[in-house]
Amino acid sequence: MCDTGCAGNAGRPNMAPVYPKAGRYPDYARLVDRNRAQVDRRVFVDEGVYQAELQQIFARSWLFLAHESQIPNPGDFIRTSMGEDDVIVVRQRDRTVRAFLNSCPHRGNRVCMVDAGSKARGFICNYHGWSFGIDGGLRGTDGKVYEKDETFEKAQIGLTPVAQVDSYKGLIFGTFDPNAPSLLEFFGPFTFYLDIMLDNDEGGTEFIGGAIKSEIDCNWKFPAENFVGDILHAFWTHQSGAQAILGGGVDLGKRYDELAFQASVYGHGIETNLDKVGNTRTLGYPELVDYVFDLSERARDRLGDLRSRAIGAISSCTIFPNFSFLPGQNTFRVWHPRGPGKIELVVWTLVNKNAPDHIKELYRKGVMMTFSPGGVFEMDDGENWEYSTRVNQGFVTRQQPLHYALGLQSADLDRDLPGHIHKGSLNDANQRLFYTRWAEFMEHDNWTDLQNGETAPPQKTASAAE
């Protein structure tokens, strides 16, 4: 600090934001064995792998931050995480949204302690009173002290901005990587499937009823892979819950073989049936089923036949790496990593803005009863993920192979849909592609390679190979 002598000529601080560079971790990438359809269990427990995930995946990917409806007015903010980094997401006076690291550039203290708020004037650090505007800039400190210090350059100090923030049909995402491709390029043609939930009605969507937080002692990838394509577990894990709510077991519908499929682009994946209301039925309210039948009819013009049948169907989706939702049940969630063996789960309910109030209310209650910490289905899942993680503390256990090989020959090359399509939703295909994407992030230090690997949408791979 005092290289140039502390007698008054010490070097001035450089307070410019630092966006970490990605590295290359080929050894970790090899933990996903594409040829054998196996995933090495160390990806779930190893601290070195976990730190590499924070660097390679969470410091580069576009991560879900908030729904536009949560912060409608200037100064409205919510606090969330990107990986383990605490961030504040704030609506600006010009109505754009910006996000900042929630850490004071003085001694690092958190500047925002609450989860959310409206019309904030700014954020004052509790430690020495440095004050930041909603634009992240340092507004002032203690003039009695700092004004007398002629070397103090207030203008170059502020909260570190999240490098890029953008939104897609109501959902706001951010990335710490200034060189990341646009949000739309990160999604690729996967937006086709996102629109099933985000654009099935005029007027767009909103989150209702606040957020529910809980902790699960599992690795973040278990829930992410579960939502990317694991309807298989429902027949065993959720059978009794379904029995309780529906009076019958999980049923994929008569035309399952012909209609159900998995789709994957850049590791984002959806598995879906086209039964219209299979998921919605599990919320237990006949009015919601009627609403979705009706919506599905009306949405035909916007979405076409196939997607309009998926609005309430038995289906699930993960946006790589850790943002998931269930069409039909309308639960949206982020699996925030908290070390290799823990997640913080935050859950919201999404509805169409134009839905009648009593329908919104039924969704809110229905999601509480099924997919909240006390919900019938969430309870079922958490325990499985905890033991799938915890057993690998066993030295011998974690050397053992895991089987990700269901549906190896199920690629559907005929269906004219975006992404990698596999037949049937009872399939490990999307999970294999999720881990392939994970390996791509471990392997590559640049976006050109990242966007042109095996998980890239097929026609793009073809043209790149020409």
Partner: protein, 109 residues
């Protein structure tokens, strides 16, 4: 001694402007509901600029730790610990000019 600060038109309704009259510490001039207010551009809490704050519901709000001062009385609201009230200079809006009495310091009104 009364001195001329600026053109009256330089202070739009609802705004605060900073001035640095020669021989005096910087001052802030604000207009609320037509009326002018002149006070030191130095927050009584920790000396930060009040002109960089804003007017809200008849109060000057300091943009740094959000102390609020009533324009009529200087009474502080939402004070950080130890923050006194704000004092004002006598001022006049005459012939399209703003005049203020800066000598002797501001007075608590």
């Amino acid at each position: 001694m009364i001195i001329e600060i600026c053109d009256s038109a330089a202070i739009p309704e609802g705004e605060i402007r900073r001035f640095e009259p020669e021989g005096f510490a910087p001052i802030a001039v604000a207009r609320h509901e037509g009326r002018l207010y002149v006070f030191p551009d130095r927050c009584p809490h920790a000396d930060e600029s009040l002109a960089e704050g804003w007017l809200e519901d008849g109060r000057v709000v300091c943009g740094v730790h959000f102390a609020e001062f009533e324009l009529d009385t200087g009474k502080v609201h939402n004070p950080p610990v130890g923050c006194p009230n704000l004092s004002f200079f006598r001022c006049e809006d005459r012939d399209g000019k703003v005049f203020a009495t800066l000598t002797g310091g501001p007075e608590y009104v």
